[in-house]
Amino acid sequence: MHKNKNNGHTEVSIFFPEAVAKIGSCLVRAKRRIVTRKTIPYLLYFPAFIATVGILYPFFRSVVLSFYEYNPTYGPAYFIGVQNYIDLFQGVTSPSFWLSLRVTLIYAFANISIQLILGLGIALLLVRTFAGYRIVRAVVLFPFMIPPIIEAMMWKLMYEPVTGIINYIGSFLGMPRIGWLGDAAWALPSVIVIDVHNFTPFVAIILLAGLQSLPKRPFEAAQVDGASSWFILKNLTFPLLKPVLYVVLLFRMIESLIMFDMIYAATHGGPANATMSIHVNAYYHGMRWTMFGTSFAFLVILWAMVFSGSFFIIRAWRKALEARMV
């Protein structure tokens, strides 16, 4: 502030250093008031929260629309309560919800169990060191790096019924020509094989890392006691590996249940609906037939399935972690 001699009035010039300092200190004080110990965690979380909201908006919109008859071909959306869900549970949609549920569950269950067993096997193989083990470990991880859509195309090339390499190799083993992805009986197993090839490395590598992080003492003790390798696996490795197994289970469950690109690229849900998972079914209802209300009902149920599954796995995982810490 400085006094203007001419008229005696006090003027504040914002260009004056004092004023600037004043504004600065105001800002600092404002900042102090906003950035307090109580608010810091929220402030840090805020950017992610905004993104969360951005993602949640379309999500909730779809959830709301699942209670509407929403078919843009037919007309504007109107509220019909849980009718879409009733239709699903009565199995009147075509392909029916129950069929899709079966496919989805078989797909997820087969995936998870095969991948866990295979992955654990591979992890146990690779946990030992041998000549070139580093290269083997790196190479085993390769399929995980391949986009599922490319993986599906890759296998489609090999599954090709007439010219494909798999039927060719099969012919030496006396197998008849099989339609694989085009055969209603073989399609689902064939897609599962693709998924297994794509994601077993993920399971194997996480379990491998888990194995490496295990304490050495109990194993040495068991070996001194002359325990069989099966006994060690069952009573030592497995329980100690539990938290890691749960994480693998969680990720594989989520991704198997909502897998879309691989199934769609490989079979379009056919033949004879043999691979019509819930996600693909919802896709047909929405993206092809504009029955978006029904489609969203499918997806909400799928989401609820994944959500509740994850909830229980995460709880079990926490428990396992605590058990291991004690």
Partner: protein, 473 residues
């Protein structure tokens, strides 16, 4: 020696002569002239940008090189999005149903237009056509289109009928019918006949399958889970047997005794003489295997001939014959029809400019270039079909000279039509129907049972239309 003046005079005279003669010519056939001569203010929407959604298709390939001409002519900028078929329709559907309105013009087809018209996503073209400020009818010459194909893109919105009346939803740019493409060389070698009905057809393909050995197959059809599997060979036969997929009351009628009888023959042919894993076959898989010489017969689009007869793409060029589809028990021959058309989005913000593009792209001038220079088959304008270059091109396709052209001609005039019952959910009906064929093929269900089960699904999809029409409460 002529003086300078003389030279100028002669030049002037020549130019005058040319202009005069052109004028005189134009009075008779104005539509043969380049677009500059049309009575249209091409430059009216200079600076606009149009976005066009195109399916990856030979027509698209033939249109793309022509677009710069349009941009130069009008000063309108054209952005185009080319997507593979499935993705194209999905993107289009998301775009239209979400009201986003990315596309001004898109490639479409009657079966999709029915949905789009009901949803209010496609613009009626007639008002633009009838607007003298925008259209030079004489130059555009709409009458040149085959009436059958033009009619397919018109609909008055009556569910169950009304084709060829009311709104004009799209301008056809190519048309295809479903014929028998077979190996003439092998037919002669093995002493087979060209089947005239479906029992004969079954015999022929099974015999060919036996003759060909382990790596050769009697028949291929497209097979993926899609309405298009039903649409092509299957519906062609189904309709020859006098069947329709919906009753007048919009209930499914795909499980009538005759339908079952036909379906049994058809599925059995695929089981006994078809490629393994038929349900994975897209139409291009089928085309590819046929062109690779592994298949005796492919009942699908006639214009695949352009690939079969091209030695660069095919190992069997010149070895194919093309025949009308087999007849039904009453001797009825009836092929389904497919046509790609250009339509205008109702969400477009540049509708007049879009019409200029449509008018230009489907004029004789553009379409003759597309066919002659860039292989767009089958053309939808009579005049192009009659053009000597085109006639010359297709002359040698088939078992005997002119077989291909003869077939197309018969189709266009006599046997071909859109056989589906017009309704907005026709693609859903087809998708569900296809499941029945897959189930019967996989021997999971009997043909009767499979068709009956699909009937239920179709009935549910059609329920809201029955309610809308007051047939059901």
């Amino acid at each position: 020696m002529l003086g300078k003046r003389g030279l100028v005079l002669i030049c002037l005279g020549l130019v005058l002569l040319m202009v005069l003669s052109l004028n005189g010519f134009a009075q008779e056939k104005k539509w043969l002239l380049p677009p500059e001569k049309a009575d249209v203010n091409w430059a009216a929407y200079k600076g606009t940008t149009l976005t066009i959604g195109l399916n990856k298709h030979p027509y698209t390939e033939s249109l793309r090189p022509l677009i710069p001409q349009f941009e130069e002519l009008t000063g309108i900028e054209v952005a185009y999005v080319i997507l593979p078929e499935e993705e194209f329709f999905e993107k289009l559907l998301i775009d239209l149903s979400s009201g986003a309105g990315l596309f001004d013009i898109y490639m479409t087809s009657p079966m999709f237009e029915w949905r789009y018209q009901y949803a209010g996503w496609v613009e009626d073209l007639l008002p633009y056509y009838n607007n003298p400020k925008l259209t030079d009818k004489e130059w555009y010459n709409r009458e040149d289109f085959f009436p059958l194909v033009l009619r397919a893109n018109e609909w008055d919105g009556t569910i169950g009928g009304g084709m060829g009346e009311g709104r004009w939803n799209g301008i056809p740019v190519m048309v295809e019918f479903f014929v028998q493409a077979y190996r003439e060389d092998l037919r002669k070698k093995w002493g087979l006949i060209v089947p005239k009905d479906y029992p004969e057809w079954y015999d022929v393909v099974t015999k060919a399958d036996e003759q060909g050995g382990a790596d050769f197959f009697g028949i291929v059809e497209r097979g993926i889970r899609s309405w298009s599997t039903v649409h092509s060979g299957y519906y062609t036969g189904f309709n020859s047997w006098g069947q329709k997929e919906l009753t007048k009351d919009l209930y499914a009628s795909i499980d009538t005794p005759k339908a079952i009888e036909f379906t049994k023959i058809w599925v059995k042919a695929l089981q006994d003489a078809g490629v393994p894993g038929w349900p994975t076959y897209t139409w291009y898989d089928g085309m590819e295997s046929y062109a690779a010489g592994r298949i005796y017969m492919y009942n699908d689009c006639d214009f695949f001939a352009a690939t079969y007869e091209n030695p660069a793409k095919s190992t069997i060029a010149g070895k194919s014959g093309y025949a009308l589809p087999p007849a039904g028990p009453d001797g009825r021959i009836a092929s389904n029809l497919w046509t790609w058309a250009l339509g205008m989005s109702a969400l477009s913000r540049h509708k007049e400019a879009a019409w200029l593009f449509l008018q230009w792209a489907t004029s004789y001038h553009s379409m003759i270039d597309a066919t002659v220079k860039h292989d767009n088959f089958n053309p939808t304008r009579k005049s192009i079909w009659e053009h000597p270059d085109v006639a010359n091109m297709v002359k040698n396709w088939g078992a005997y000279p002119g077989q291909y052209a003869e077939n197309v001609n018969l189709m266009l005039t006599k046997y071909g039509d859109i056989r589906w019952t017009p309704n907005p959910d026709v693609t859903a009906v087809g998708d569900i129907w296809c499941d029945a064929l897959h189930e019967a093929y996989a021997r999971q269900k009997t043909v009767e049972q499979a068709l009956k089960d699909s009937t239920r699904g179709i009935n549910r999809v059609m329920r809201k239309w029955r309610i809308a029409l007051g047939i059901e409460k």
